[in-house]
Symmetry: C2
Subunit: 304 residues, 2 copies
């Protein structure tokens, strides 16, 4: 299959009507029924930078590119809507690989209620996947921003941490379970959890892409507060034993959030979460050990 034929074939696969989409692919642009507010984020992953085709199948790449974009929609507490996908395919990527990439993306889209409403396919020196994803909410007040954390709020997180980073180390030869590798290759955007946290009254929220160490600082900076986290409380993925690693390894795509203490019961009833600490006046994120001593995470880094 020649390059132009492959591009045409993949373009056909990208985009289907459904949900709000009135006109899908085949016109100059997709037409989508709009109301309330739209919530949009764009993300790009590049072979050799964000993944390696040596250790990730084309399907892993397709899944991950859409999952990490959808994670931003989850972190706003919005309903997923449409995805627009741009692929740059290197020479020799081939029809089978391109089909697997798009099929994995479509499977995740189907599972999350996302419509792939359009796309663009070009050639490039390495595989690049850009995904622009749009979610919807009735109004801006139904969303949760990074800036809403207030002195006295609790800090919580969904799921478990450190699994993706540990999985990447397994891919590089460290001992560890296939489940960790799966966690790295197939992150799950916490869309239902994000909407439930928004409905239950979370005051601020962010997805954990860089690691709680960095993302807690982002929340604190946006909100003008200090976030204090007790490292021993971090929920560790099976096979991860070091909380400092779990706080910094990144790519977990769980949701870190804050909430008024009186929202605690409502949140626990809505979503399984782990409470990590609290919000106070001040700046930045502070991590403490069980004895209350500040732990410096400087020596730890986002595993890439």
């Amino acid at each position: 299959m020649g390059e132009l034929a492959l591009i045409a074939r993949v373009k056909e696969m990208l985009g289907e009507p459904g949900g709000r989409v009135l006109t899908g692919p085949g016109d100059d642009a997709a037409v989508v029924r709009a109301d309330g507010v739209s919530v949009t984020s764009i993300d790009t992953v590049v072979d050799g930078v964000h993944f390696e085709l040596a250790t990730h199948s084309p399907a892993d790449v397709g899944h991950k590119a859409l999952a990490t974009a959808l994670s931003d929609i989850a972190a706003m507490g919005a309903e997923p809507g449409e995805a627009y996908v741009s692929l740059a395919l290197p020479d020799g990527f081939g029809e089978e690989a391109a089909t697997q990439l798009v099929e994995a993306m479509r499977a995740l889209a189907l599972r999350t209620g996302t419509t792939i409403a359009g796309g663009d396919v070009v050639s490039g020196p390495v595989l690049y996947v850009s995904v622009s994803v749009t979610g919807w909410a009735p109004g801006p007040e139904q969303l949760v921003y990074r800036s809403g954390a207030r002195d006295g709020d609790l800090v919580g997180v969904t799921g478990e941490l450190g699994g993706s980073g540990a999985g990447l180390l397994v891919l590089r030869g460290a001992p560890g379970s296939p489940a960790l590798v799966e966690r790295h290759r197939r992150p799950q955007p916490r869309l239902a959890e994000g909407r439930a946290l928004a409905a239950a009254g979370a005051s601020a929220m962010i997805d954990v892409s860089d690691g709680v160490g960095t993302d807690a600082r982002h929340l604190a900076d946006s909100s003008g507060v200090q976030i204090e986290i007790e490292l021993a409380k971090l929920p560790l993925a099976d096979g991860v034993s070091d909380p400092a690693f779990a706080a910094t390894a990144g790519d977990d795509y769980e949701l870190l959030f804050t909430a008024l203490p009186e929202r605690r019961a409502a949140i626990e009833a809505a979503v399984p979460v782990t409470w990590l600490g609290g919000v106070r006046a001040g700046a930045g994120a502070v991590f403490r050990d069980a004895a209350g001593r500040v732990v410096d995470l400087e020596g730890f880094e986002h595993v890439r």
Copy 2:
């Protein structure tokens, strides 16, 4: 400036509040006031494929990436809204180049009433710019689709053709004017023309990216009709003398449209256009010389 610092700096530059944008960059996603229908397209340009940094400044690339994305919004007859920009920057691209690229994009955004509402910057082996752009209309019936051409309609085009392709040949050493080069480096999305044509009753519309030869076929295929164009009527850019070249060289980003004959006066009053031919029952696009003979454009190609 290190890579991470550059990425942070460019991210700061991408995104500003304005228009419908309620929350710009700095959160997980941009929040935009929505109503009617949104109209979205994603486009990517890659160094060595869609442009060469040897002959295009970073500002040219930034302009072109946004202009070609906006051209799809123009071709729907929609009002431009927001752009989301993802850049992959190669080692050594540098702060000055990145700043120039983004500034040119912002200048075009400002001039067209587009808000750059968000972005993502990563590193990659070559310069890669992906732009997702959203426009707005009160409802789907205010838009113009590729599928609306009907037997008996007239066929028209805005502006002049062949200039961009001729400019690319000048960049490669052919004789020709700097104006042609400018036409290639700085395409102008015909947003006002697209809205005016929609309001004046155009029945189908497409932007001329591949050349009228190919894009007329796209219109015909989407509409289930045949489009007949008299080659001698093509409006040639200054410095272009061969209509077959003008029909195939591509990248002009003018608007090719159809309309009922009774809309002719209203369209001429709204937008300067050139009438090229008509729509009839049948399939595909047919080009004829002044004597009525069918001209085969096979030997001519999109200049890349």
